[in-house]
Amino acid sequence: MSRITRDRIQPGQNLEAVDLNDRFTDYSQTATLNEENTRDGAFDTPHLASGIITKGMAKTFLGTGDWTRSSVNTVTSQTAASTAAVKFPVEDASSTETRLNASDLTWTIAAKDVLRIYWDLSVRPMYTGTPWTGSPTTIQVDQDGGGTVFVGIGGHCWIISLEWDITSAALANFVPVFGGTDFTSSVGSFKGGSLPGCRHASVIPAWRMSTENTVDGKAASGTTISTRNKVYPTGWYGASGSFYYAPTTAGVTVYGIRVVVHGIYHPANGSGNNYLLVDDTVGGANQKLQYSAGFLTAIWQRTE
């Protein structure tokens, strides 16, 4: 009802009931008020309908849900027998995936919408022995007093990444979220993902590595690699990650979101690109990642 444009009744004009009814209809219009009907400052907080900015929010527990860590799940690292990245969805104590399902989501992310995803998970990388000593990732450096020795550089890590299902509520087709690598790229004989595809992935140090008695740019002499590198367990670690999906054209319908664990990876490069590649030489049943509890949250909002 920004304006009523019906002609006025002129003096001497015959009037009928319809003239009155038409005018009542004009004034009784609904849902057509616009800026011409309101004065400055007309709108205040109560006038704002709910859900005009935040369209949806969903949250779920991740893992066993046990913050005391008396109940944990364990993922083992990949070995040379692994053909590609083996991803383990985060599960509860009953081996049921903890994820956001279609009943939580089924959100169609339109242009000028944004999907924000946040997660956190309490994790504990573990190892036995000195698995890094046999890895091709060790580097040869000068040794104090002459000669050279090998040391580890400390880049081994676990990855926790985000996946979504944008095909159906059956949730049978989880794939990396928009733009994310699935860590199946080949670099030489190794598998992994390129760094430009890693916005959906967080990294956790497999161990904490340093050196002892380094001097003048040289490693200490007289020790083996396993003792030269000072290495300590990462311990329980608060891992977290985030992701944003803001399509500029009509986007996708999101039915499910989950978090997957995989590793152990190491930095690498090839043909001018950087990668995180599975280092299966350090993998095995003794290299594992425990996890207990966390949260996965998704927020769906309009961007303006």
Binding site: R23, S28, Q29, E36, H47, G155, L195, M209
Partner: protein
């Protein structure tokens, strides 16, 4: 919205004249064109009626360092060995603040800004504490900060060892306008004993960053 007669209430069998209708029309027109907050229904402003950018604006970006999306591109030493990143080495990087990415917050209407930045990094932690850097030691960190219009709104000492992920966030009050945001990093400088290369001349990666993304929310007025 309902409306009642205010000037002449027409009753059954009344004799009508044109002015009775016209004056009522004028009366109603006056009030309709000047609705104030007491006349607006609760919840009248729906998503469809809310003008874009009236209350807020969310800025998201897949931050990019040139051709390597989300990846640090300031220092990309190509002489590192195969099982390392093409990354910042101490031969090419001395330890200064570097702008990883710039982003402009356009059409900011004035109000509160929330901004967050997440990503992953590698820090070479081999030489935190050496023979000649013992008291004090020289722990390496991937320092991070967010600068908005020249003002630091968030900072972090950053990860220290190996591959780790980070997220930092802050808030700031800003006037209307376009605001420049810089996402910056700084690695700790080398110590006197740091191992920086191999006997064959390959340089050791010291710092790298990837998977960077940022989000900002402007809540106006």
């Amino acid at each position: 919205m309902s409306k009642k007669w205010t000037t002449y209430e027409q009753r059954d069998k009344n004799l009508l004249d044109a002015d009775a209708i016209t004056e009522e029309f004028r009366s109603n027109q006056s009030s309709i064109t000047t609705l104030d907050r007491t006349q607006m229904p609760v919840g009248a402003v729906t998503e469809a009626r809310l003008a874009p950018g009236a209350l807020h604006r969310i800025y998201t970006t897949e931050l990019s360092g040139g051709t390597n999306a989300g990846e640090q591109n300031n220092y990309r030493d190509t002489t590192t060995s195969a099982w390392q990143f093409l990354a910042a080495t101490y031969q090419v990087y001395g330890g200064s603040w570097q702008t990883l990415f710039n982003e402009t917050l356009t059409d900011f209407q004035g109000g509160n800004l929330f901004i967050e930045w997440g990503g992953s990094c590698f820090v070479n932690g081999l030489c935190h504490q050496t023979i000649n850097a013992l008291y004090p030691p020289n722990p390496k960190h991937f320092n991070l900060r967010i600068i908005v219009g020249g003002v630091e709104v968030a900072s972090s000492w950053g990860p220290a060892i190996g591959c780790q992920s980070y997220r930092l966030f802050g808030t700031h009050q800003l006037p209307p306008g376009n605001h420049e945001v810089s996402f910056q990093w700084r690695g700790t400088s080398s110590g006197p004993d740091d191992i920086v290369d191999t006997p064959g001349g390959a340089r050791l990666m010291q710092f790298h960053s990837w998977g960077n993304k940022a989000l900002a929310i402007g809540r106006f007025r």
